[in-house]
């Protein structure tokens, strides 16, 4: 990433030339020194507080400091750093160019960091690269970040990324992709999610039940009825009970009646309420 810092710093110096901040506190009180101290403390909360305080602060040293945070191991730190750059679209565009390249060819960590930056800054131009990168062998962390990026952008052209991720070998990736599906703008069908109701992973099944219910995917009814009475996972049964209420089919009455006596308190009232809402 050093080349990015160099590039930004050069751009700032040669092109803008206005970044050199006063060492004294400026504006709302943010400063490079405070950011540096927060980074030194290692605290996510301290870093977040100082980056937020420097929302509009123009300072060359800040650019370097915050650029480094885009590679922090903690998502919360990367997120707030990307937000800071999203407030500076000129710099963001420069970084996005290089992050897009790293998304295409970088290692797991680089691809993860790149996806988080591009997603949080809504770099829509990176969507074609995201669509290709989700098929790369870069590990679950990077792929979850790619899904997270698509969810944050919520752009319809990110949907293919989620479809690919739903078939990933990692249940964490599949669950994240299913979860993101309903939040894409203009998404009007959950048919692609129905198959995930039979996923071997309980979290994926639970997420899929939520999505098909929220989006009123009628073709999921039979599988939801199976889940609500027989799934081993209480969350999956609960979500299936909720989803059946959303679908509202009288055909679900027997399954939901059975679920009202579920051994888990997570399920019983949900089933009763869904039962009451059937047509």
């Amino acid at each position: 990433m050093k080349n990015i810092i160099t590039k930004i710093a050069a751009a700032a110096t040669l092109s803008l030339g206005l970044f050199a901040a006063s060492p004294a506190l400026a504006g709302k009180g943010g400063s490079a020194g405070l950011i540096r101290s927060a980074i030194h403390s290692g605290s996510v909360d301290a870093i977040t507080a100082e980056i937020e305080r420097a929302e509009s602060l123009m300072c060359e040293e800040c650019v370097g400091l915050v650029t480094n945070l885009l590679e922090d191991n903690r998502y919360e730190v990367r997120e707030v750093a990307a937000w800071w750059f999203a407030k500076r679209p000129g710099l963001k565009d420069m970084l996005a160019e290089q992050f897009t390249a790293e998304l295409a060819t970088g290692s797991t960590i680089k691809a993860r960091n790149a996806a988080d930056f591009l997603g949080r800054t809504k770099t829509y131009k990176a969507l074609p690269t995201l669509r290709a990168a989700i098929s790369r062998d870069v590990g679950a962390d990077a792929k979850v970040a790619m899904v997270r990026a698509v969810k944050y952008m919520a752009h319809p052209d990110g949907s293919p990324v989620l479809v690919t991720a739903m078939a990933d070998g990692s249940p964490v990736v599949r669950a994240a992709a299913v979860n993101a599906w309903r939040d894409i703008r203009g998404q009007n069908s959950a048919a692609v999610v129905v198959g995930l109701l039979a996923d071997p992973d309980a979290t994926v099944r639970a997420e899929a039940a939520t999505v098909v219910g929220a989006m009123g995917e009628a073709s999921a009814r039979a599988q939801l009825e199976t889940i609500v009475v027989s799934d081993t996972d209480a969350m999956a049964r609960r979500n299936a009970a909720w989803a059946l209420g959303k679908l509202g089919s009288a055909a679900s009455r027997q399954a939901l009646t059975t679920a009202t006596a579920d051994k888990s308190g997570l399920v019983r009232m949900v089933a009763r309420a869904s039962l009451a809402s059937l047509k």
Binding site: L16, G17, L18, F19, A20, A21, S22, A24, A26, G27, G30, S37, A38, S41, S43, V44, D45, A46, T48, A49, E50, E52, R53, A54, S56, L57, M58, C59, W83, K87, R88, P89, G90, Y124, L127, P128, A154, N179, R182, D183, G186, N188, T203, A206, E207, T210, A214, M235, R238, W242, G245, S264, G265, L266, V267, R268, M269, A273, S274, S277
Partner: protein, 734 residues
């Protein structure tokens, strides 16, 4: 069962007479058998007052969040965990808030069971310890539940009332906004309230049946959290406290009713304060003392609202609190004395997330009895590994009446807004007959696919829905989309705003939000009889009330009655290109004044020259101008991001002018110089807003059309943004 008392007594002041843990039967807690207290593992990721997703399931020693009962409510009382030990599925629960039912037999709480689930609502039955989940959307968060009369529960949620629409996002703390909702205690009939553009949080039930909550008001430069009222059905929103600069703090939250018209609440800054601050005693009406109890129920108006600081020395901004001063997380009144006794949650030391984070610490909230008459705290419970918060007496209470609002099915899912007489305002005095109509705009944030900033002016996205004529008796009515943030402006016959409501409001489907005037009494029922008004006789002005969000835009017709968003490059640039850039083209001179931005520390400088061309701004101004996509014409008219200038300690010299002022077309240089024609009721180029012929006539150029003038006025009055739905880059294909 266990008893926990781990207080540094040096941190508290003990009163004489009744000692900590002593016989308190005659004290303010004398009629309280036990307290319910929420214990959460300590954390430091809740600096912002709207943070609701924090999840820390266990302390380093492995203890969960839990609800405990302290009986008697003294420091040597017995502490019993009442939820949620030994309940399958709750091994990693975190609990964010709760409420006790009116009969004190049940508790509703917001809990999150694992890292990959959301906060949901749960109902605990105290007699047998059973817990059932209330059926809410598993993919959305539900927080801050309170019981309502009529077997209902109110909550805050990021679930979305508008089908297919994204929830609004908060551009600062970057969270998805919370809105109000309610559901039956049996899980039936979930309803989601109309949406604010930012958060609504911490609802509390009031003895008159209304609900008070904190609303974040962010419209342009307004940025503060105020107390609002709503009916139990989330209709009839009214201002409560804090607007128009009446609060001593940026944010007021976690209100609890002391007596009718009187509340205790936290006063603090929005961020870095762990949702904690000083305590205010807020009196909304005329103060009446009866047998030592103080109420303020009558004549609740902005003029009559007062407050008293109950905790002198405790910061109301984000300043780190001092040792022994600390901050208060919440307070619950035990009586209505002039200086009430409160059971509070308080933490010592610098309760500020940045300072605490740097030191590797977390705030340690414990429960105390606060004697506000003598500013003395007596310790009740403090587990050093936990936040001990929201102490509440476990006792029955009187349920207020079920309140609701009329819903007009004839509105067909739309909302009707209006007022009986727009000239009746406590905020501005209007000349008789000066108002032509009320312009209504819809607000949205970046969730529709926009970049972080709509322009350099800090305003949100807007779409103008229309103008409702003000009738002879001052009345006006309009039907608008339900559940969306709305902003109203009074305008004159030139289309120039004479007053802009500084906040967003919204209404439910079928709701008639017809006010007496602007800012009438908060507590009195306004006898609205719109049937007697001229506006009702004529009928409401239709304003896209039945048009879905994605179609509330005008892509090609920018005429006065069709224009919605002022997409700078699509609406205004063609006008500049055709009629302005032959002179205003960036060539330094009388027609194109220049200014220079200098960094006094380095001496480096960049110069800008007035330019109405549609070229992208150069890199040198990318930061000062906000976005490389912005055009030279935008930067010339809107000016620089002055927050960036200020925080960068930069100097601006030369002829620096802002030609379009946000929400002030009438006072904008470009508008006064151009001198726009009459717009309403009919466009008439021979009648001008200001004396003289105007700039175009003076220079011999082709005049702008009335529609072009109106677009320019709208750009200013709607905040001088670059982006609108009509040029949303999130709608392009990639």
């Amino acid at each position: 069962m266990k008893t926990t008392l781990a207080l540094g007594l040096s941190l508290v002041t003990l009163t004489g007479g009744v000692g900590c843990g002593g016989d308190d039967s005659s004290g303010p807690l004398g009629n309280v058998d036990s307290l319910i207290i929420l214990q959460r593992p300590k954390r430091n990721d809740m600096g912002d007052i709207f943070q609701y997703t924090s999840y820390v399931p266990k302390t380093p020693a492995g203890a969960n969040a839990r609800l405990v009962k302290l009986e008697p409510p003294t420091a040597d009382g017995t502490q019993t965990t009442i939820c949620c030990d030994n309940i399958p599925g709750f091994e990693n629960v975190d609990i964010s808030g709760y409420d006790i039912s009116f009969d004190a037999k049940q508790i509703v709480f917001a809990g999150k069971l694992s890292a990959n689930t959301k906060y949901g609502l749960f109902l605990l039955t105290l007699s047998d310890g059973s817990v059932e989940q209330i059926p809410t959307d598993p993919g959305r968060d539900y927080n801050s539940p309170i019981f309502l009369p009529g077997d209902k529960i109110m909550f805050t949620t990021n679930a979305i009332v508008e089908p297919g629409a994204p929830q609004h996002v908060d551009e600062y703390e970057r969270g998805t906004t919370l809105q109000l909702g309610r559901i039956g205690t049996d899980g039936s009939g979930e309803e989601l309230g109309p949406r604010n553009l930012s958060h609504r949080t911490f609802p509390t039930l009031v003895s008159d049946g209304r609900v008070m909550f904190t609303q974040w008001d962010h419209l342009g430069t307004a940025n503060a959290g105020h107390l609002m009222f709503a009916n139990q059905d989330m209709q009839a929103l009214r201002e409560g406290f804090g607007k128009e600069g009446t609060s001593p703090s940026n944010s007021t939250l976690k209100a609890q009713e002391i007596a009718p018209g009187r509340f205790v609440a936290i006063a603090t800054s929005r961020n870095r304060t762990i949702q904690a601050g000083a305590l205010l005693d807020i009196r909304l009406g005329e103060v009446v003392t009866t047998d030592g109890d103080v109420t303020a129920a009558e004549k609740q108006t902005e003029q009559n609202a007062t407050y008293k600081e109950l905790t002198p020395g405790v910061p109301m901004d984000m300043t780190p609190s001092a040792e022994t001063v600390g901050r208060y997380y919440d307070a619950f009144p035990l009586n209505a004395k002039a200086k009430p006794d409160l059971v509070v949650s308080w933490a010592d030391g610098p309760v500020e997330s940045g300072v605490l984070g740097s030191a590797g610490l977390e705030a340690n909230f414990g429960v105390f009895l606060l004697d506000t008459a003598n500013n003395q705290r007596r310790p009740i419970l403090d587990d050093p590994a936990m936040w001990d918060i929201f102490p509440r007496p476990l006792q029955t209470r009187t349920a207020p009446p079920v309140t609701g609002s009329a819903t007009d099915t004839n509105l067909g899912g739309k909302t009707m807004i209006g007022s009986m007489d727009v000239y009746k305002s406590s905020l501005k005095t209007f000349d008789a007959g000066s108002i032509y109509g009320v312009r209504v705009s819809e607000g949205f944030s970046s969730e529709e696919g926009f970049p972080e900033m709509f322009g350099t002016t800090m305003f949100e996205g807007m779409a103008t829905l229309g103008v409702a004529p003000v009738r002879a008796d001052g009345s006006w009515l309009a039907t608008v989309p339900a559940n969306v943030p709305l902003r109203v402006q009074t305008i004159d016959k030139f289309g120039l705003a004479s007053f802009s409501e500084p906040v967003w409001f919204s209404g439910r489907a079928g709701e008639s939000r017809v006010c007496g005037g602007c800012h009438e009494s908060r507590s009195e029922t306004v006898n609205i009889n719109p049937g007697v008004t001229d506006a009702f006789q004529i009928g409401p002005t239709p304003m896209y009330g039945d048009v879905v969000r994605e179609n509330r835009k005008s892509m090609t017709d920018f005429s006065r009655d069709k224009i919605m968003g002022v997409a700078w490059n699509k609406v205004l640039q063609p006008m500049f290109d055709a009629k302005c850039i032959s002179c205003h083209n960036g060539t330094p001179g009388a027609a194109n004044p220049s200014y220079t931005v200098t960094d006094p520390m380095t001496g480096t400088a960049v110069t800008w020259t007035f330019d109405l061309r549609g070229t992208q701004i150069p890199a040198a101004f990318a930061e000062l101008g906000g976005d490389p996509a912005f055009t030279a014409s935008y930067l010339s008219m809107a000016g620089l991001d002055m927050q960036a200038i200020e925080e960068g300690d930069l100097m601006v010299s030369g002829t620096y002018k802002v030609y379009l002022n946000p929400e002030d077309a009438r006072g904008s240089l470009a508008i006064t110089k151009l001198n726009p024609p009459q717009q309403f009721p009919t466009q008439n180029a021979s009648v001008r807003a200001f004396p003289g012929a105007g700039h175009m006539a003076a220079v011999g150029g082709p005049d702008l059309t009335p529609d072009e003038y109106y677009a320019l006025i709208l750009a200013a009055d709607n905040g001088v943004s670059f982006y609108a739905r009509e040029n949303n880059p999130g709608l392009d294909r990639y």
